[in-house]
Amino acid sequence: MGMTMTEKIIASHAGLEEVKPGQLVNAKVDVIMAHDITGPPAFKALKNNGLVDYVDSKKVVLVLDHIVPPKDIDSAMNCMAVRQFAGEKNIEHFYDVGQGGIAHNVLPQEGLVAPGDLAVGGDSHTCTYGALGCFATGMGHTDIAAAMALGEVWLRVPETLKFVYNGKLGKYVTGKDLILQTIGKITVNGANYKAMEFVGYAIRSLPMEQRFTMTNMVIEASGKNGVMPVDDVTKDYVKGRVDREYKIYKSDEDAKFEKTYEFDIDNIPPLVAKPYSPDNIAPVDEVKGVKVDQVFIGSCTNGWLGDLRQAAEIMKGEKIAKGIRLIVIPATMAIYRQALKEGLIDVFIDAGGVVSPSTCGPCPGLHQGVMGPGEVGLFTTNRNFRGRTGHPEAKIYLSNPYVAAATAITGEITDPREV
């Protein structure tokens, strides 16, 4: 019996010829990520149990991204704990504020994760890296501490769901819309404990960044990991970034998928997720006219350079509507620098927006751009659960960067095809 990509990657890291869904295995990890929220308690668990010496520094990537620069003494102490651990263990891949950006964008950008790898991270959106053809999944901080000490994790081999996308994306329709459509179809519980494999013509024609946007939101369907086949787009992306050998895994012809979903995407319009769930999907038309207070373009989902280009394409020469605010956050400092060079930052500032350094920003409701009671936001982020970005009565809509930019100009949710 053949195996899926996910099964093959897990099998090879578990030193097994074959694995089956449901099986529990111990798998070697290649990369372990932690940030300023999950790092400090993980280090504490290691210290309290006398396990710090077991940590292989080469596998560890530490990124300060959630509350940086710190907003208060607690968050300053979290950053201190990460810096201290990075120093003590001589961690080469430590990114302080201003040096990296959001972890899920920094790791692929810097070539720290490669096709065929098994990566875990102390953050649920670690699944982002799977677009590279690797296995990547998020865990809590005790699991991350355990992975650091052991160099391995226990995993239940997931069943794989296959998603096939046929056809061509329309204008102002992106990978974000494909994944929103998918979550809308299978719901936020649709892939719990499962792997999601994305294939088809539309995936092959997506640029790497938009592929990451899709695997990023696998967790919004409660998926364990998402994968995409490695092709020339993947190889081009990792060229010059990944400086080690990597392995390409492909699902066998006779691999067993628990279920296959097919999407004809020719007629998918730009979509939005309405409050309070990422599976509450509607065509942008249906919510057009909803007044917004804040537009946020950024996050690990849509803070890529291509996303900023899309937004700037709509906003060039325009002003944001009176009474609303626009926050733009390039996901990494490298993206920030390139956006500066291309004049994208000027477009946003000229329009009346504020551009912040590369962090999670308003997305987790921890720091800059927190929403007040009853306020309405249009965000390019990945979740809009109640209270996610501030007050429980704030309402967040999720969309792609085109919709976000068009909305910033008019002050109400707007179909970019109509501006």
Partner: protein, 171 residues
């Protein structure tokens, strides 16, 4: 472990943002997290909940973020366990890792109402709601062994004894 208390019933897809909102994530101190447990879905929960009380919930409890603060807050609030139709996978691991008892028992969830009196025998996997008994789905042996060892870090230490020497040379 024998647990007993009142049931608090919740629906499907209770996410970690409502279990413990992001603004409290700067700390993992249980005492600071407890007063905000379930704040996003029932702002009075932390005040009402008595030691031993239980959360009964539908599908996919704990979906969303990887924050271990969620099971920590529940445990610290005084709630003794969570009985759900199923759990989001990261929450499931986190709960096992920190020693918050969780049980998968859809029938008991359907039967329970807020205010029901509930008893749980964690070893035997029996959930009793208003005098009616239900059997929870058993966990795989490996997961039971983590629970019995007292959490993941104890398992890690044992596993290291079996197989490894410190790799401090690479530090």
């Amino acid at each position: 472990m024998q647990l007993a208390g009142k049931a608090y019933k919740f629906g499907d897809n209770v996410d970690t943002d409502v279990i413990i909102p992001g603004k409290y994530l700067v700390t993992t101190d249980p005492a600071r997290l407890a007063p905000h447990c379930m704040e996003g879905i029932d702002p009075e929960f932390a005040k009402k909940v008595q030691k031993g009380d239980m959360i009964f919930a539908g599908e996919n409890f704990g979906c969303g973020s990887s924050r271990e603060h969620a099971p920590i807050a529940i445990k610290a609030s005084g709630a003794s366990c969570v009985v759900a139709k199923n759990f989001a996978r990261i929450f499931f691991r986190n709960a096992i890792n920190i020693g918050l008892p969780i049980l998968v028992c859809p029938e008991a969830v359907d039967y329970a109402k807020s205010g029901s009196s509930a008893k749980v025998d964690t070893e035997r996997g029996i959930v009793d709601v208003d005098g009616k008994s239900f059997e929870a789905d058993p966990f795989p042996e490996f997961i039971t062994s983590i629970i019995q060892k007292g959490g993941l870090m104890e398992y890690v230490k044992e596993r290291l004894k079996q197989k490894q020497v410190p790799v401090s040379s690479s530090a």
